[in-house]
Amino acid sequence: DAGVTQSPTHLIKTRGQQVTLRCSPKSGHDTVSWYQQALGQGPQFIFQYYEEEERQRGNFPDRFSGHQFPNYSSELNVNALLLGDSALYLCASSLRTFIQYFGAGTRLSVL
């Protein structure tokens, strides 16, 4: 049974560019949450998707947007990248509960 998978594993972008990160949830899960983890910090909640709609959103600017597809997979898009967007981006999936299972993350470096 595949767990949460994220792609790509690493990404290097320059300031001002746009990036798309992808997530496939654990089999049977219908809810996807995205988190940003800066070096040496705990993850910060970005947003959560359920039934293809954004259900909750954390304190992140509109440059951060997302999407959930009918097969429950999800994308995180970040526009106009800033140096401060460099972080590990984590996807977590769950099935209508608070128990979330995390992928290995995408390491984004903005130069």
Binding site: S33, Y35, G42, P43, F45, Q56, F98, F102, A104, R107
Partner: protein, 111 residues
Amino acid sequence: TQLLEQSPQFLSIQEGENLTVYCNSSSVFSSLQWYRQEPGEGPVLLVTVVTGGEVKKLKRLTFQFGDARKDSSLHITAAQTGDTGLYLCAGVYNQGGKLIFGQGTELSVKP
């Protein structure tokens, strides 16, 4: 704003020693989860505590949820080098909702 204060931030001990990590908030959680994260990986769920005063044991790890559901602790007995990693507590304030993470405790167990 819901905040989780985790302490200590760093802990370096010798193999065989005991340790306790604390997680505190001024807000009441509906539940609290403890994760362990290794470099380059996503957080892995260790335990979920739901009921005030609850104590759960996972081999040498003991997790406690405060009576008022505002705080939690993780105690490791006879630490081993394999316990090295980042320990994260995460609070849930509504069912199925976002996780609010503490800043993490970086544990290093030396042989």
